[in-house]
Each structure stands twice: as C-alpha cells, then as structure tokens.
C-alpha cells in the first residue's frame, strides 16, 4: 500500500506540489475534500488529513464529521420508511433526502417473490445512483452478477450510530498503525462470535448470540470513535468489556 | 379572599353544599349531532363541554405523514367559547395552556384506542368548552371518551377523569388537611388540586396533571380520592352509554 498521510490541511490553504503525488503516466486524481482551481492550484475545502496514493496517483483529504452525502458505490444501512408499488422509500440519515430502493433489486427477486419489508426494517444496500438534484437510489443486488454479495435485509441485532470517519476506518483494509480499528480483532481473538455490518452513512449494525455481547461490541466501537483510542487502549477496552459477560 | 378552610373538615359540607368525596351533578348525552361520526355533551356541575368526532378518515395530504403510517393519528382541537368564563375573553389558537390540554388528550387516546386498526387515517376530536367552572381538563377527557364510544372506535376501556384537591394550601404543613373531590372554579383558585384520569375502573393512571404546589405527603391522599372519583365517573358514563344502547335496541325491535 502506497498510501501516505503526510500532513494536516485547512480549507483554503495552498498545497505545495511536493505534497501531491506525481506519476509519470497517470493523470492526477482528486478525491473528496479537494478542489482544483485552474490553471494549477489545488486547495482543500475541508480540514483534515491529506492522504495520497502514489500508485494510483490519487490524493484526497481524510476528515471526520459533517453529514453523509450519498456517493455511488457506498455501502449503507438504510431504514425502510414505506412501500410503494415500485419502490421502497428508505432513509439513510437525518437531514438526508429519502432514497429509493426498487422492489426488484434483491437477489432472485421477481414480481411474485420479492422480500416484504415492513416500515422500520433495516437493509444493507449499495448506493447505485447519486446525483446532486435527485433522490439517491439503492440496490441490494449486484447488477452484473445478480448476486446479493451479502446485501439485503438485516434481521435482529442492534443499530449504533458512529461518525462517518469511523465508518470509513472500519471499512478500509489498513494496518493498525494507520488507524485500523483493532478492537474487533480483540473480540474475535477471544472467541466471541458476532456479525457486523458497517454503513458509510455512519451506521453500525451488530448482532451476536447475546444482548450483552452485542451491546459491548457496539459500545466499544462508539467509545473508540468518541475518545479516539489508540490500538493499545482499544485492546484494553475490549478486554475490560469482555469481563462483563 | 382566602376560604375558611376550617369549614372543610370531613364531617362538614363545602360551600356548594357537597361533602368532601361527592361529585357535582354529572350528566351526559351521546349522539347529539347527527352529522358527526360520534358526539357527546357533558356537564360536570357548571362546566359544559361538547365533543364531536369525525373519522377515522383518510389522512389529509402528504404533509402530515409523520412516520405514523401504520396506525391512525388522533387530532384534537379545543375551542374555548368567549362566553365560557366569568368574564368574556377570547383565546387565540396559540394559547399554550389549551394546546397542552389538546396534546394531553391526543396522547391519552392515542394509546387507549386501537389505532392500529386504521392505518394511515386520522381521528379528529373537536371539543368546545361552553361554560367553565373547574375540572375543565377532566370534563374534556370524559366527553372525548363518550364521543369516541359513540363513534364506535375500539378502545381498551373508558378514560375517566376528575379532579381532587387538598384543603391545606401548600404553605401550611398541617396534618389535618383533608382531600376533596371534584373541585369547582372557586375551589381551584384557592386550593392545590390535581386532575387525574384512569383507565376504566382500574388504578392505572393515564393522565395526571398538577399545577399547584403541595407537600409531597398530601399527594397520596389526593390521588386516592381522585382515582376513586374516576371510578364513580365511569359508572355514570357507562350508564349513559347503556341507556343509549338500550334505546337503540328497543327501537330496532319492531
């Protein structure tokens, strides 16, 4: 992994070329939180950690906070609001516009055999369409393979709210030094079995055999998020909460 | 002018000639208005209330869908007639005290009615206070119960309400204070009191509102008197419904 996190940037500051990756052939890719002002000024629009990937020649700002803005390809946990003849209306977060989830966008769904979701049900879905002035659209099936890939209704368990940054951290495959959350590994290593789904919209769904375990895992992540615990502290936290059950 | 509270001893009568645990004249009629789905007229002493129910009917517009689509919403509108009090007074629609009563009534019936039987519909209660002489919230609740029964909307049980007071004002800490049932406007002005509504004949309290200061020790007695008063109210309301029902049944037999 050629990801590097070099410095903390503030909105509006000018970025020196030395911080930007330079690749001989690939064009420079700007990720979230950066803006290109022609001819060749690049400034951050948010405060956060400037990250760059030399191999892909990409650069972006890692930041924590703000509202969730749907982006195509994001995995999210949505709450069904109400059904309609063709869609389910679902909400992703407070303030966000309602998303639509076509009735047939489930694995193996047809007119006759589609899942019946009650208002309030949770689904793990992928954002398939996100335009500025349109309601986002979700899918629970891969349009190319027709497989669910683990998407679909989430039964039981509990939903926790986490920060957007935490949601991203949980989903990125990174070593512990670069912000990987180790608290879950710690639980796993202790033989606790649980299921987890992370939504980029700042939602975390946890299910396990007992209520207490579910709560402990959810709260451990929330606490790691809130207090910004380092790996050592995370391990301690996990061990402590495991004592309770 | 403070009341002479010494005259309130259990053995004695109140200013209007009632005993301490006596309700005022409580009368009611149901099906008073042909155009409404349900209606009632109720008098508790000189407090007079009319209630009409319309619905359950299709929810108006999409603007009102506040998540609760799997059950009926209960909307309550209270209008206080300008001539209801001693002095003529017009109350705006934004009067917070009235809105609080409306919220209370709505919330009490939202749990008592089987609203889940009528998804995405609205039950509208329209209450008119024609004359007020104490126990207003109680009268409104009782009238609502009757009108909802008249409208044939399923409910767990009657919600019956009355007020209960205590002869000692909050400042005096005397132990000889006695509870009083069903206060009129004058008594409400002078004495600490609470409004209590229970579910049917049980001790389950659906609404309990107290707005005057009272020693915590007084409360138990007041509450006990109030809860018992609600049971008496239930008997009366039940009689009204049965009377009306019998009359309908008689009429059907030809």
């Amino acid at each position: 992994m050629a990801v590097s996190m070099e410095r903390f940037v503030l909105p509006g500051e000018s970025l020196d070329a030395e911080y930007l990756p330079s690749h001989p052939t690939l064009p420079l890719k700007l990720g979230p939180g950066l803006r290109h002002i022609p001819p060749n000024t690049i400034t951050p629009t948010v405060a956060g950690q400037l990250c760059s990937d030399k191999r892909k020649n990409a650069v972006w700002v890692e930041f924590n906070g703000g509202r969730y803005i749907p982006t195509v390809g994001d995995l999210v946990i949505a709450t069904i609001n109400r059904p309609s003849p063709e869609f389910y209306y679902a909400s992703l977060s407070d303030y966000a516009p309602q998303a639509t989830l076509p009735n047939l966008s489930f694995e193996g769904a047809s007119r006759k055999t589609r899942p019946q979701l009650q208002p309030g049900a949770l689904v793990y879905a992928r954002v398939s369409l996100a335009n500025k002035h349109m309601d986002p659209e979700l899918e629970c099936v891969s349009s190319s393979t027709g497989k669910s890939d683990g998407l679909g209704p989430l039964n039981g368990g509990m939903l926790f709210t986490i920060s957007l940054g935490m949601a991203r951290r949980l989903m990125l495959p990174r070593p512990a030094e670069q912000g990987r959350v180790v608290v879950l590994d710690e639980f796993g290593a202790a033989g606790v079995s649980f299921e987890i789904a992370v939504g980029r919209n700042g939602k975390l769904w946890v299910d396990s055999t007992s209520l207490k375990t579910t709560l402990a895992i959810g709260k451990a992540i929330q606490e790691t998020d809130l207090k910004g615990l380092n790996p050592e502290e995370q391990k301690k936290l996990a061990r402590k909460s495991m004592k309770d059950f | 002018m403070p009341l002479d509270t010494s005259s309130y001893s259990l053995a004695l009568l109140r200013l209007d000639g009632r005993r301490w645990n006596e309700l005022r004249r409580l009368t009611a009629q149901i099906s008073t208005q042909a155009s409404a789905d349900g209606s009632s007229y109720l008098e508790m002493g000189n407090t007079k209330v009319i209630c009409t129910v319309s619905g359950p009917s299709e929810q108006k517009a999409a603007g009102s869908d506040r998540g609760e689509r799997d059950k009926a919403g209960v909307r309550v509108e209270i209008s206080v007639a300008g001539f209801s009090g001693v002095e003529r007074k017009r109350r705006g629609r934004n009067d917070k005290r009235i809105n609080e009563m409306a919220t209370t009534i709505s919330s009490a019936f939202q749990t008592n009615l089987f609203t889940n039987l009528f998804p995405h519909s609205t039950i509208t209660l329209s209450l008119h206070l024609l004359s007020s002489d104490g126990s207003v919230l109680a009268a409104l609740l009782n009238a609502s119960t009757l009108a909802l029964i008249d409208a044939g909307i399923p409910m767990k049980d009657y919600i019956c309400a009355c007020t209960a007071g205590s002869t000692s004002s909050y400042s005096s800490n005397d132990e000889s204070a006695d509870p009083l049932l069903d206060l009129n406007a004058q008594e409400e002005l002078e004495l600490p009191f609470l409004t209590v509504a229970t579910l049917g004949g049980s001790d389950s309290v659906s609404v309990l509102v107290m707005e005057t200061k009272v020693q915590v020790g007084r409360l138990e007695g007041m509450l006990a008197v109030g809860v018992d008063g609600c049971k008496q109210v239930r008997e009366v309301l039940d009689e009204v419904v049965r009377e009306r029902g019998s009359r309908i049944l008689e009429g059907t037999k030809l």
Binding site: - | Q33, A34, S35, A36, S54, S79, F83, R90, H128
Partner: protein
C-alpha cells in the same frame, strides 16, 4: 358577492341534472318532497348557559348545529362631542342610518362599536374569508336600523358592551348563514340585562336579583314588538323560488340570496324599504340583501352521450372543438352549469315572497316566537 360554500361538494353530473330538472318543474319536486317554501324541522332551545346573559342552540335536520352565547359588560363610554357624532358613526360601522341621528335629542344614542360579534367555524382560522364574511353579514343585519345599539345605553357615561360569540359546532356542511342567524336571533331574544337601580348619570348600580332583570327585547304583549333580525337563504331555479335549500339543492341553484329582515316598532324615521305599514300585524322591513355566489358555477358539466367515446359517441378532436360542441349541444338530461346573472324581476319576486303578508318571514318569526324562552 359573498363566497358560496364552505366545502366544495362533489356531485356527479347525473345527480346535478336530476335535481335541477326536478326543481325546475312547476311546482318543483325537492329531493325530500318538501314544498318550495317549507323548512326542514329544526331543534331549538334557549337559555342553556347560565354564565351568559342570553344563549341559544339550534340543530338543523342535516345535523349542523350552532350555539350562540351573549355576554354583556358595563363599559365606560368615550366622551362624545355632538359635532363628532356623525363622523364617529361613519367610522364605526357598516350601514348606519344617518336619519336616526334626529333622535339623539333625548340623549339615548348607541354606537356600533358597542357590539362585538365573532363567528367561529371549525377548521377555519379567525381571519379566513368565510367567518369574516359571515360575521360581517350578521352584524350588518343587526346594526342596520341603528336602533339596536340604543338598547345598550345606560346613561351618558356608561353603556353595555355586548359580545356575541357565534359558534358553529358541526362541520360546515351547507351554507351556515341561516343557521347562525336563527340561533343569534333566539339568543338575542333570550338576552337579559340586570335592572338598573341607580339614576341618571351616576355610576351604574344594578339589581342583584336575576329575576328582576329586563329582556333586551321586551316582550310586553300588545305593544308594538321589535324583534332581532333574521337572515334567510333563498334560491331560485328557473322561475321557482325555494326556501331553506339543502346543500344538494344549493349545488344546482341559479340565484342565491341572503335576505335579512327585521321587525320594527312603529318607526319615527323613514324606512324606505317598508313593505306594509301594518296595524297590529308584523311590521317587517328588509334590512339587507346579499347575493351569494352559487356553487353550481364551479361544477363540471355533464358529457352528453353523443360526445362520449365510452358510450359510443365520438369525442371532438381538439379541446376547442370540444367546448364549442358542448356549448351547442343542449340535451335533456345533461347537466350544464348556469351562466350569467339573475333577472331583476326574479330577485324582486324572491324578496316579495319573503316579505309578503303571510309570507315566509312571518311564518319563521312566528315559529321562533313559539320557542319557549327562559
């Protein structure tokens, strides 16, 4: 023109056509078979609220219900300077008759601002057009003769301030004006004011005994009676004049009038609209007329079979053709909303039907008189 209906009622073209044709027959056949001048039975009671000076409740047969409570409070009069009187009068009110100023001689004088009238209709805000129009029409009739406010005069320094609170208790199914007017009439009839014990311009002192109180409208037998005004709704379909229209009938009306009538004591000034200078009989006077926009204008017209594709006809190609064809085809049994205004002769006939000796107004007033008071 006053707004028509409080609720747009939805009737199918076939229903409208049926009712309209029935009402156009001579004599008309009303949906409930009443005669043209017959009223539906109503339930009335007065003096129902002890905390008011006067009150009444009326239920109409269609289930609409109204209650009126009247409260009087003693108020200090604003000092009036004679030269200002006319100006004040104008600013205060609607249709005040200036001629009456001659009577100021004995010092008895009323101001329109001594009466406050409010109309409350469920589902409407206070400043919506419907309640505002209704209260304007009701107070217009009440204050029209300038005689009413004189009853509120106590002495030169004090007067009664009269609050009329008119509540519609039911949903406004049909046009509520007649209901509200009749209820107000009864409430005014039952209104009593405490007997004055003080004299002249002292601070007023009243008799505590409610039994000694005096009616706002004294009911001495034999003397010339004065009664509060009533406002009736009259509608016409072709030549037929129909009273107490139901909401379905209103939906096909071609002309709708709200006619306010008052009964006078022998007048001192000149009432121009006086119809009959009776001797001991009711002396009725026309106080106000308002045309009401008939809701029938807002209905959709029916489609005749010949233009209906669903019934084997052929629809017109364009919308213009369509409307012109509809205009030209006049078929029996197809509803056409009425257009244009009313003939003067018809309006005159409607008014005289109300006011004539033995006419509807007399019967209504007789009926209302018979309601047991107090």
């Amino acid at each position: 023109m006053a707004p028509s209906s409080t609720q747009q009622i939805l009737l199918s073209p076939a229903e409208l056509s049926y009712i309209h044709t029935s009402l156009s027959l001579s004599p008309p056949i009303r949906p409930d078979a009443r005669t043209a001048s017959q009223f539906r039975p109503l339930v009335a009671e007065t003096d129902i609220l002890p905390s008011t000076n006067g009150s009444a409740r009326i239920c109409f047969a269609d289930g609409t219900e109204a209650i009126v409570g009247i409260k009087a409070e003693v108020e200090k009069s604003r000092p009036i300077y004679q030269q200002n009187v006319e100006e004040l009068d104008l600013s205060a009110g609607a249709a005040d008759d200036e001629d009456e100023d001659d009577e100021v001689g004995n010092g008895v004088k009323g101001l329109n601002e001594w009466v406050e009238l409010s109309v409350e209709i469920p589902g409407f805000r206070d400043d919506d057009s419907m309640p505002v129009f209704l209260s304007a029409m009701l107070s217009e009739a009440l204050l029209a003769d300038g005689d009413f406010t004189k009853r509120l005069w106590i002495n030169r320094r004090f007067h009664w301030k009269l609050y009329l609170d008119i509540l519609l208790l039911s949903q406004p199914l049909s046009y509520p004006l007649p209901l509200l007017s009749l209820t107000t009439h009864l409430a005014l009839l039952s209104t009593r004011l405490p007997k004055l014990k003080s004299e002249l311009d002292e601070d007023p002192l009243f008799d505590d005994d409610w039994d000694a109180s005096e009616f706002l409208y004294p009911r001495a037998v034999g003397k010339a009676r004065t009664r509060p005004p009533v406002t009736l709704l009259v509608m016409a379909v072709q030549e037929n004049i129909i009273f107490d229209p139901s909401k379905e009938e209103l939906a096909v009306a071609e002309v709708v009038l709200a006619v306010s009538i008052g009964e006078m004591s022998p007048p001192s000034g000149g009432g121009s609209m006086e119809v009959d200078s009776g001797k001991g009989e009711r002396d009725l006077r026309l106080l106000a007329i308002r045309t009401i926009d008939p809701p029938s204008r807002l209905t959709h017209s029916g489609v005749p079979n010949t233009l209906n594709t669903a019934t084997g006809g052929s629809a017109a190609g364009t919308s213009e053709q369509n409307s012109s064809q509809r205009e030209s085809v006049v078929e029996e049994g197809v509803w056409q909303p009425p257009r244009g205004g009313a003939k003067r002769k018809l309006i005159a006939a409607m008014i005289s039907k109300v006011l004539e000796r033995g006419g509807v107004a007399e019967e209504v007033l007789d009926g209302l008189d018979a309601v047991e008071l107090g």
